[in-house]
Amino acid sequence: MKKNGSMKEDDAMLMHQLKRGRVKALSGLVEKYKKQAYFLALGMVGNADDAFDVSQEAFLRVYQSARTFDDKQPFFPWFYAIVANLCRNVLKKRQTVDSRQVDIDEVGYLLADDGTPETELLEREEKRKLFAAMRKLPFADREIINLNHFRMMSYDEIASILNIPRGTVMSRLYYARRRLAELMEEDERHAMRRD
């Protein structure tokens, strides 16, 4: 994520224009943040269709609530809050139908190919385990893992986006990783019992 003065000013300018009803300004924001929005959502909802839908809906919300945007605040954290909320809604809705089973094909479909064929099988199994565990994490844990690992943001970036102190980012990450470790180990024990 690039962050320099001029880009922030660009955002502010675009939001200012959008407030005055210029839809064209929104397209500038969309071009700049569409991938961010999609991948942020993907890490949280774990499904391409939902992630795509969330990202588009998020831009619609930007258009609809542009008036409530505070010009003195940076755009991205505000936008992120919208994305995260939409993700939370998707997960809430899904909770009732989700069997919490992760299909290995589903994971494979989402992930970029990397590694050689012989390492791939093992890696895929590990990634599947990670994804299955991710699904069982509470939202806040899932969120911080997503930002740090999948979006590769620094603690400072995460702190500014979530509006929490840096130390909280660190301790939250610790608890999230530990919970993930526990869930993955549990998965392993289940697999061994099956064999």
């Binding site: 839809v23 929104l26 397209s27 969309v30 071009e31 569409k34 991938k35 999609y38 991948f39 993907l42 890490g43 391409a48 795509f52 588009q56 809906e57 831009f59 619609l60 919300r61 258009y63 609809q64 609530s65 409530t68 505000w78 809050a81 919208i82 995260a84 909320n85 479909y109 989402l110 992930l111 970029a112 190919d113 990397d114 590694g115 890696e123 590990e126 990634k127 385990k129 990670l130 893992i145 740090n148 690992h149 999948f150 620094s154 603690y155 979530l162 509006n163 130390g167 660190m170 301790s171 990450l173 610790y174 990783r177 530990r178 993930l180 470790a181 993955m184 180990e185």
Partner: protein, 148 residues
């Protein structure tokens, strides 16, 4: 330092996000504490697997048509607003005529007219109050959505 305090720093230690003094503290503690070393090993495994995860990008056409998709959503939203506005106007217009005809007819007793007038005024009050309540709830939700 206690294990609990060290553990809160472990993620930062893994990610190189500690300052020099903190790093030294953690290192020193780890050298003498088997439990925390084991804990770090577990966390490292998670970090390692997670670092390998890379999501596949969507096809270029999808990104190229992306703005169109957002725009359609905006249009659809505006479409709904105008359509419902039109429907409300038509409904009010129709009701107005119906009511006016009713009151202008001389053969209908004054009591029936008073009754209907009461009904209309009461209904209007209820409607306004209901709308106000809904709008209030909506604003609150909006606020919660953006404020975190």
């Amino acid at each position: 330092m206690q294990c609990d305090e060290i553990k809160e720093l472990l993620a930062g230690y893994q990610d190189g996000e500690l300052d020099g003094a903190q790093t030294a503290q953690v290192r020193e503690h780890l050298a003498g504490c088997e439990a925390c070393r084991t804990e770090l090993g577990r966390l490292n495994k998670v970090k390692e697997v997670a670092s390998k995860v890379q999501y596949k990008d969507l096809p270029l056409e999808v990104w190229e048509g992306y703005w169109q998709g957002v725009y359609r959503r905006i249009e659809r939203g505006l479409g709904w607003i105008f359509a419902s506005l039109g429907a409300v106007i038509l409904l009010c217009f129709g009701l107005f005529h119906l009511v006016r005809d009713f009151f202008l007819r001389p053969e209908i007793s004054i009591f029936a007219k008073l009754g209907v007038a009461g009904l209309i005024i009461g209904g209007a009050f209820l409607l306004v109050s209901l709308i106000r309540e809904r709008m209030f709830a909506y604003h609150r939700e909006r606020y919660r959505e953006v404020q975190r």
